[in-house]
């Protein structure tokens, strides 16, 4: 309903603008646009040139913002629908998976009492069963993640010691990281107040990012885990690695569910999607900066005090 205004044009069109709009207002009277256009027309005639220009710019900005929001809303809705579908399928698949696993384990038990003429055959039998069990576990991991993504878990808000939480998760990853020659560096602001947030959800988010960080480093490197103030009523968590980095054209895809560059069996592409959902639910934001071949930094900003949000994706 906005008339698109030729912002780039010279001053020549300005004197015509007010009468044109008044005319338009008349035309739109029957369409219900009366209010807007008459107000705009009066405002425009009252304002000077500079004012008009500023107003036009504002209008254009508002229009752009609206379009962007529309697109985001569409993406959010699409993702929500997809998520629901995927969760439904996951749920259905989980039951047969549980049965396959149970039966495989039962077979394994039966096998312990079985005799084979050829002992090599027994071994093969065992290995084959083990493969089945592993594959089922893998499948359940995927369905578990999909269900997690779709689950509408309302945050339970408590006062958290953020540094403590980060330290706990760092320790968990440190063990595994050390084997790959990766160092964990902590830079925790000592004066952070308690943060009102959901501990289990936040732990999950941080753990996902730490996992990505150490998976991005093949041959040693450093993960730097930072906590700091971000303005008077926010805190910031940064997780930096010295890994492979992310090509710029890929940056806007990494948060999408199922986007992964990892070989099948290692990544499902759900880690960041889950993490982003969590952080938004906690009223925070998450962003990424990366330099291919040098490393990547994920940054989370969280409010110190939490307030219930409107329905958000």
């Amino acid at each position: 309903m906005w008339p698109s205004l030729p912002l780039g044009a010279g001053r020549g069109w300005l004197p015509w603008l007010a009468p044109t709009l008044t005319l338009l207002a008349g035309l739109c009277l029957w369409e219900g646009g009366y209010r807007f256009f008459s107000v705009a027309a009066v405002a425009l005639s009252a304002l000077g040139c500079a004012g008009v220009r500023a107003l036009c710019v504002r209008l254009a900005q508002a229009e752009n913002a609206r379009q962007l929001l529309d697109e985001r809303l569409l993406t959010t809705q699409k993702l929500a629908a997809l998520g629901e579908l995927a969760a439904g399928i996951s749920h259905e698949i989980n039951n047969p998976l549980a049965i396959i696993r149970q039966e495989a384990e039962w077979l394994r038990e039966l096998l312990s009492g079985a005799r084979f003429q050829d002992p090599a055959q027994l071994l093969e039998f065992r290995e084959s069963l083990q493969e089945i069990i592993l594959a089922v576990e893998r499948a359940r991991e995927v369905t578990g993640k999909v269900l997690e993504l779709a689950r509408e878990r309302q945050p339970v808000i408590q006062k958290l010691d953020l540094n403590r939480l980060l330290e706990d998760m760092a320790r968990l990853v440190e063990h595994e990281a050390r084997r790959k020659n990766i160092r964990m560096e902590r830079r925790f602001a000592p004066d952070l107040p308690p943060v009102e947030s959901d501990g289990p959800l936040l732990r999950q988010a941080v753990l996902n990012l730490l996992t990505n960080a150490y998976q991005a480093m093949e041959d040693g490197g450093t993960i730097t885990l930072t906590s700091s103030w971000a303005g008077p009523d926010h805190v910031k968590i940064a997780i930096r690695d010295t890994g492979v980095g992310i090509p710029p054209e890929m940056l806007d895809k990494i948060f999408l569910p199922f986007f992964t560059t990892k070989p099948p069996g290692t990544g499902t592409g759900l880690g960041l999607a889950i993490t982003q959902t969590i952080i938004h639910r906690l009223g925070g934001t998450i962003s990424v900066a990366s330099q291919p071949k040098h490393g990547t930094t994920f940054t989370i900003v969280l409010p110190l005090s939490w307030e219930p949000q409107e329905q958000k994706g």
């Binding site: 968990l172 595994e176 501990g199 289990p200 999950q204 753990l207 996992t211």
Partner: protein, 129 residues
């Protein structure tokens, strides 16, 4: 707020007995069992506020037990304990609704702190329902 019921699940007898004794020393109503199966049985008999659950146990492992617990008693908070850090199972545990995932050995005061937080969370959620 201080008084709550704790179930400690660990197949390592020494570890379990020590921690049960020490928690009782802090006036917590504490029960110890040696397996996931026993834990579920104990939970059918009486209700617990906080479960401290070892990840690696013979028979039903910690992750399986956690899954079952959260399904049947969603409000009971579960703190996972692990001797061998495994990021994969950590992520899995958190996704399945564990309250926390902690590396052994953990100082008693730290564990107590987490248990208090877990209990607080349970109370908040009970208030919601």
């Amino acid at each position: 707020m201080e008084k709550f019921k704790v179930l400690v699940v660990d197949d390592e007898d020494d570890f379990r007995e020590t921690i049960v004794k020490r928690l009782r020393g802090r006036h917590l109503d504490t029960t110890g069992v040696a397996s996931g199966e026993e834990a579920l049985k104990a939970m059918e008999q009486e209700s617990f506020d906080v479960v401290v659950l070892d990840v690696r146990m013979p028979g039903m492992d910690g992750i399986e037990a956690l899954k079952e617990m959260k399904k049947r008693w969603p409000l009971t908070e579960v703190i996972m304990l692990t001797g061998h850090a495994s990021v994969e199972s950590g992520i899995q545990g958190m996704q399945l609704g564990a309250f926390d995932y902690v590396m052994k050995p953990v100082p008693l005061d730290e564990l107590l702190d987490k248990m208090r937080q877990a209990y607080e969370r349970k109370r908040i959620q009970e208030g919601k329902f």
